[in-house]
């Protein structure tokens, strides 16, 4: 695909995705301030750090939106990359926590049963985990930029 077209699609994609992330961030901040738990399909808005998570998603959304204009520029791609990293931090630590919780058994046993282990991975999930797969698109743009980056690093 033509580089220009690829970057245009990237800009459009992260523009739409940025709006979604931004809105989810605002929702989490609002629910965090009100100290409310909301369960919606596979999504759950709850937990001690909801306000904090909401603030991070709010800023990640802004970063995505700021990256849209002239997406071909490396500085713009960096903004999308940083926004994705912010979501990876939330989702990554949450997945880490789910994995650890799935190992521990109930009061009578040290380790979880096979059924208990599998059921730990069932929904609901916090919004960042649902958003996670959509952030991976940034990897495509970073990898396609890699050759140019390596050449530039060699020049320096």
């Amino acid at each position: 695909m033509d580089e220009n077209m690829k970057d245009k699609i990237g800009g459009l994609y992260f523009g739409v995705f940025g709006i979604v992330v931004f809105l989810v961030g605002i929702l989490e901040i609002g629910l965090g301030v009100l100290n409310k738990t909301v369960h919606f399909g596979p999504l759950i808005f709850s937990g001690y750090f909801m306000l904090w998570r909401g603030a991070i998603l709010f800023f990640a959304g802004i970063f995505y939106l700021l990256s849209v204009k002239k997406f071909s520029d490396v500085h713009q791609k960096a903004k999308a990359m940083v926004a994705s990293i912010m979501i990876w931090i939330i989702a990554g630590t949450q997945i880490f926590s789910i994995i650890l919780d799935s190992i521990i058994g109930d009061g009578s046993r040290w380790f979880n049963t096979w059924e208990g282990f599998l059921s730990s991975y069932a929904p609901p999930y916090i919004p960042s985990i649902i958003l996670l797969p959509f952030t991976l698109v940034v990897a495509y743009y970073v990898l396609s930029n890699k050759d140019t980056d390596e050449k530039n690093e060699m020049i320096e």
Binding site: F59, I104, N152
Partner: protein
């Protein structure tokens, strides 16, 4: 040779002029990301995410080992076994070593071999390991110097510079290496301020572990109150203490992927170093408090200090016991507080009080050691000055919290 900061910059310019050749280069993605992490508008939200990662990782990792394994190991196996085989139930040595014979869990038994070992191994070890692991990854990836640059403007307002973030963050693990790390600060004024502020306001990893394990719902309020105190008293100390606060000069390395070998080596060295100091102090702390209980000293202190504790700070007089234990280990003191009957507001005040009132003995010794480089006068300056600040802060900041509760109608 020591130069003033302006002379250093001139020297840097002169060397750069003679040695650096300029050419055309393109910004790489790594450069662009590095730039975003040091600019305040973009860097602060990124720092917010990095800190979230820290707390989230810390709670998950420490919770997994403490609640998932050590609580069961100590409560279901170690405690009943020890209560069964240890001779002399009701004797003074049973009270010191095993504690309450009717206790149903290691936390409430309060013997050296029960609560002492449980706090040291079951709570502190996972907390410290989680803390150091995350910190080492931040250091080795190159993020820490960027955080120093980012926070420089804020810390300048209280007379410190960005690199003060290193002792601050290290103190969140243990105040002892935090005090040692103040050597990176350039002036006597900055070092004194940093040592004093971190000894008073920064809770160590062990203390954080206990707070997150026992009262996670109040952790945010407690830490926020301490942070505000850090900035407020830092600002006052900056105005009151004479001396210079020079500009920052930091070499920022490029971002790198941390190597597994380096991370594991550093983690091993730091955890081992901390652990070999922590265990004797925790055990000694429990033993000493038990001896003081047996001798009636704690009851006497509670009676003597009761009016001050209840009227000025608004906490129960029984808080005296944990405050004595806090001199040896603050995590132990927080753990002891949870066993005392009080309202949630009194619990928040008590935890803040334990944090403010005195550095633990290991930090105290480290402060003396740092001052001793300038002889007896240096020791007296650091200790005398710090203790004077500490007493003032304790009464103002501890009393203010009580006043807030009164104004809210909850005290």
């Amino acid at each position: 040779m020591e130069c003033e900061i302006d002379e250093r910059w001139k020297l840097v310019d002169r060397i750069a002029e003679e040695t650096v050749t300029y050419g055309d280069g393109k910004t790489t993605l790594k450069d662009a990301i590095a730039e975003l992490t040091v600019k305040p508008l973009t860097g602060l939200p990124i720092a917010l995410a990095v800190l979230y990662g820290f707390w989230s990782f810390f709670s998950a990792f420490a919770g997994f080992f403490t609640d998932g394994f050590f609580v069961r190991l100590f409560d279901n196996h170690w405690l009943p076994w020890l209560q069964g085989v240890f001779p002399g139930k009701g004797s003074w040595y049973y009270f010191i070593l095993v504690g309450d014979p009717a206790a149903g869990n290691s936390f409430e038994a309060f013997g050296m071999l029960t609560s002492g070992l449980f706090v040291a191994i079951g709570i502190v070890l996972p907390a410290i390991t989680a803390f150091y692991l995350y910190l080492i990854i931040l250091e080795d990836s190159g993020y820490m110097p960027r955080l120093a640059v980012l926070i420089d403007t804020l810390l300048h307002k209280i007379g410190l510079h960005g690199f003060a973030i290193v002792p601050m963050i290290l103190s969140l693990g243990c105040n002892v290496p935090g005090v040692a790390a103040t050597r990176t600060l350039q002036t006597k004024k900055q070092r004194f301020m940093m040592i004093t502020l971190l000894a008073i306001f920064i809770p160590c990893g062990a203390q954080l572990g206990v707070i997150f394990s026992l009262i996670p719902e109040f952790a945010g309020i407690i830490l926020l109150y301490l942070l505000i105190g850090f900035i407020f008293f830092g600002f006052i100390l900056h105005k009151v203490i004479p001396g210079k606060s020079p500009e920052i000069l930091i070499d920022i390395p490029p971002y790198r992927t941390p190597s597994l070998e380096n991370v594991s080596k550093k983690l091993w060295v730091r955890t081992k170093g901390f652990f070999t100091t922590a265990i004797p102090f925790v055990l000694l702390g429990v033993g000493l408090v038990n001896v003081l209980y047996l001798g009636g000293v704690i009851d006497w202190l509670a009676e003597a200090l009761g009016p001050l504790l209840t009227t000025w700070f608004g906490v129960p007089k029984e808080t005296v016991g944990p405050l004595v234990a806090g001199f040896l280990r603050k995590d132990l003191a927080v753990a002891q507080l949870s066993a005392i009957e009080m309202t949630k507001y009194q619990l928040i005040s008590s935890v803040v009080l334990v944090n403010l009132y005195f550095p633990c003995i290991a930090t105290f010794i480290m402060m003396m050691k740092e001052g001793s480089e300038r002889g007896v006068r240096g020791v007296l300056e650091i200790l005398g000055g710090s203790l004077l600040v500490l007493a003032t802060v304790l009464f103002i900041w501890g009393g203010l919290l009580h006043l807030i509760w009164i104004m809210m109608g909850v005290a």
